[in-house]
């Protein structure tokens, strides 16, 4: 299996069918094919994406419009029940932030954001443990998981990343089956 199909198989690791109708409080500010989104929801996804891929000396999620990609993919490439679960999880995420810090995610400090996101991440040393399994609902974990992988997927497949960080070649013109790793700093990706 190539990397792409692996990604495809990992797609939408989210909760099971939550057939509750989701509602969109507030005025819709963006219209998609399958749902409308309000400003709070847009901001949340954008902030979350930016927390995952922050602007450093190189562009971050906002610069690369990765939040737009997340919405596009949830709209076009997720099943209806996955979309419903996404919105349910989004709501729960907001509740969690409110409960923890009594404010919106956007208003949280960098440390507060990091503390919160860490509760969703497995520690590398605990690879097979999922400490949040009992604490968070499937939808909540699914929401974070979806935003996370779509942000990372959008980033690593962005023009910026594929031309500046790892040079993806349209025409490699070679196959070296024994490529010595000492030279690896100069290596280009296959």
């Amino acid at each position: 299996m190539d990397r792409r199909s692996a990604i495809r198989n990992l797609a939408f690791v989210m909760g099971s069918a939550a057939l509750l109708p989701y509602c969109t409080p507030g005025k819709p500010t963006a219209h998609f094919t399958h749902f409308d989104v309000n400003l709070d929801q847009q901001n949340l996804v954008a902030d979350l994406a930016e927390t995952i891929i922050p602007k450093t000396t190189s562009p971050g999620a906002r610069d690369l419009e990765l939040d737009k990609f997340v919405w596009l993919m949830v709209d076009d490439c997720a099943k209806k029940d996955e979309q419903e679960a996404f919105f349910k999880g989004l709501g729960e995420f907001n509740d969690l932030v409110k409960k923890s810090y009594n404010k919106n995610f956007s208003d949280c400090t960098k440390d507060e954001k990091a503390t919160l996101l860490n509760t969703f991440e497995k520690k590398p040393s605990q690879k097979n443990l999922t400490p949040t399994d009992e604490k968070y609902s499937k939808e909540l974990r699914g929401f974070y998981g979806t935003v996370h992988w779509l942000t990372v997927f959008g980033y690593t497949e962005s023009k910026y990343f594929m031309t500046r960080e790892i040079v993806w070649e349209l025409v490699p013109g070679r196959y070296n089956a024994y490529f010595p790793v000492k030279n690896l700093k100069a290596a280009k990706n296959g």
Binding site: M1, R3, R4, S5, R8, A11, T51, I52, I53, P54, T56, G60, L72, M73, D76, C77, A78, K79, A114, L117, E121, K122, P124, H148, V152, F153, G154, Y155, T156, E157, S158, K159, F161, M162, E165, I166, W168, L170, V171, P172, G173, R174, Y175, N176, A177, Y178, F179, P180, V181, K182, L184, K185, A187, K188, N189, G190
Partner: protein, 571 residues
């Protein structure tokens, strides 16, 4: 008025008709036009001109709206084609959508199709191995299907003939079960594949891991340059159509070649509805088509007809070609038409982690995909509780080390890391299946398509032999991976429907006896000598090698015979 009709009938008369423009039809057209015949090729789909009609060929990954993924509404509407690994944003326009061309699945069958000039030759994975005498003698030795009317020696020169032109890369491995061919240089195995190859050779009798043989121009010869093709550039974006002609497709190779001769007329948008049989003449006189743009019916006439619509559509055309002489389909005196359909068993794969080999990685891309393990079960004699055996794909790979989890500055920087992660190794099975009368296709009694053709009803399934073979693959590969020291070995079986292997064969099988087969040893209908069938439908058994190279060779061989019989006045 009468004259006009005669003139127009004359205009629609050729020396030969070829139905379908895929791998086998392209070869029929090339060989027939090379021999000076005036040929019309009738293709149901649109034209796809080499390079010009490859809209995605030079697109970068980020230029695809969904970065390659197929939107959910398309998947929901087309579940069958969505299961094909190559049905992605970059090549979806070369696949038939389920909705556009329905069929009946009495038993689940994933029928993967490409309706356009070039057929599936644009999309295929280009794996090309010769079949051996163990394959052609298989049914007779093991007592299934019917005896092949040919042996390896009959097809050997024709393999050479098509290999030289198509361009097949590979190594001379000297294995009786996988005969060598006219190879361009093979693509090498990487460090882990090479290690495994040496390990297997040292620890197992008659088991080999070789470089996969594939239809790529690793080093083109003059004959390839003459086709307008150049060296494969290792893009591995083949399914989009290759601007270099680096791999073999009808579009890059046989069709432009045949067109250059001036002897080929290519007529896209032409669904062949049936073959016209003339009771008085006792032969086929031509074909009836429906023009998909005008919906008008037209007839084309020729002395010989090559049927190359791909296995199941060829069955459909013959079943639908009814006359008073052949009420059950053209050439179907025996009643075997549509029966003994078989496929390849792709129902298991295995993966593992590999420790070590840190000093090596790969650079660039390998169009062959890695290694290939020829069949090692029941080759020289029957030795298991199932018939026949399986070949295995084998590939090892290693990418940059990336932490999948995390967020923030360090996580982001880590994504750009060029430090290599561990090696992984994987394999998938490709098993032979046994043709049976109970695996068949038939015309649906009531349902018709947009052109008035009956829908095809498919009843094909796995059997006990396939289950045993799957189990054996998992056991053997697990053992081989274990003994090689691979770690965290995970074998998986799947329940993919037949068809997703895209190697469906049979229904119009070859054989010596007209009572039990449709075609003779020249791929000629026993009962209608000017009709030739040289695609997968003609196969008596399936081997476990990829089949398309054999369709090519059988086609070239059949054309050679047909034209010489034509010249002798025998047809």
């Amino acid at each position: 008025m009468a004259n006009l009709n005669i003139d127009s009938a004359k205009e629609r008369t050729y020396d030969a008709i070829v139905i379908g423009s895929g791998i086998s039809g392209g070869w029929a057209a090339k060989e027939l036009t090379d021999k000076g015949l005036k040929v019309i090729m009738l293709e149901r789909g649109r034209d796809v001109k080499h390079i010009k009609d490859y809209p995605t060929t030079n697109m970068y990954p980020w230029e695809f709206k969904h970065k390659g993924q197929i939107p959910q509404d398309i998947q929901d509407a087309n579940p069958v084609v969505s299961r094909c690994y190559a049905f992605r944003e970059d090549a979806q326009h070369f696949f038939v959508k389920d909705q556009e061309h329905p069929y009946v699945q009495t038993k689940p069958f994933d029928w993967i199709r490409g309706y356009q000039v070039g057929g599936k030759s644009l999309l295929w994975a280009r794996q090309t191995q010769r079949w051996s005498n163990f394959d052609f003698e298989g049914p007779a030795r093991d007592g299934f299907a019917v005896d092949w009317p040919i042996r390896y020696k009959d097809i050997d020169p024709w393999y050479s003939h098509v290999e030289k032109f198509a361009g097949i890369s590979g190594n001379k491995d000297g294995l009786a079960e996988l005969p060598d061919g006219e190879f361009l240089p093979g693509f090498p195995l990487n460090a882990v594949e090479d290690y495994f190859s040496k390990h297997v050779k040292g620890h197992y009798k008659n088991r080999y891991v070789i470089s996969a043989r594939c239809a790529h121009l690793s080093k083109p010869n003059q004959i390839h340059i003459d086709q307008g093709r150049v060296q494969c550039q290792n893009r591995n974006l083949c399914q989009r159509g290759c601007p270099f002609g680096g791999y073999f497709s009808s579009n890059a190779s046989t069709i432009p070649w045949a067109l250059k001769s001036g002897n080929l007329t290519l007529r896209p948008y032409s669904v062949v509805e049936s073959i016209i049989y003339d009771d008085k003449k006792g032969e086929a006189t031509g074909v009836r088509i429906v023009d998909t743009n005008t919906k008008q019916t037209e007839e084309y006439y020729a002395k010989i007809i090559f049927v190359n619509a791909a296995c199941l559509n060829t069955n459909l055309i013959l079943l639908n070609s009814k006359s008073s002489r052949f009420p059950n389909g053209l050439g179907n005196d025996s009643g075997v038409l549509g029966k003994y359909v078989a496929f390849h068993n792709y129902s298991a794969h295995i993966g593992a982690e590999v420790e070590g080999f840190e000093e090596w990685a790969t650079d660039g891309r390998n169009p062959a995909g890695g290694g290939y393990i020829p069949r090692f079960r029941n080759v020289f004699k029957q030795e298991t509780d199932f018939l026949r055996g399986y070949a295995c794909g084998l590939g090892a790979y290693r990418g940059y080390k990336h932490e999948g989890e995390g967020f923030g500055e360090n996580f982001k920087a880590g994504l750009s890391s060029k430090e290599y992660g561990p090696w992984y190794v994987g394999s998938h099975m490709m098993g032979e299946t046994i043709p049976k009368a109970s695996n068949f296709v038939a015309l649906d009694a009531a349902k018709k398509d947009a052109w008035g053709m009956p829908l095809l009803d498919i009843s094909v399934d796995y059997d006990d032999n396939d289950q045993k073979m799957q189990k054996d693959y998992v056991e053997q590969l697990t053992e081989m991976f274990t003994s090689a020291g691979f770690k965290n070995i995970k074998a998986e079986t799947n329940h993919q429907a037949p068809g997703l292997d895209i190697h469906e064969m049979g229904g119009v099988r070859m054989g010596n006896d007209p009572k039990t087969s449709m075609l003779n040893k020249w791929n000629q209908l026993h009962a209608c000598k000017n009709v030739f069938v040289t695609d997968g439908s003609s196969m008596t058994s399936t081997s476990c090698q990829n089949p398309s190279l054999t369709y090519m060779a059988l086609t070239a061989r059949a054309v050679d015979n047909a034209v010489s019989e034509l010249k002798k006045g025998n047809i």
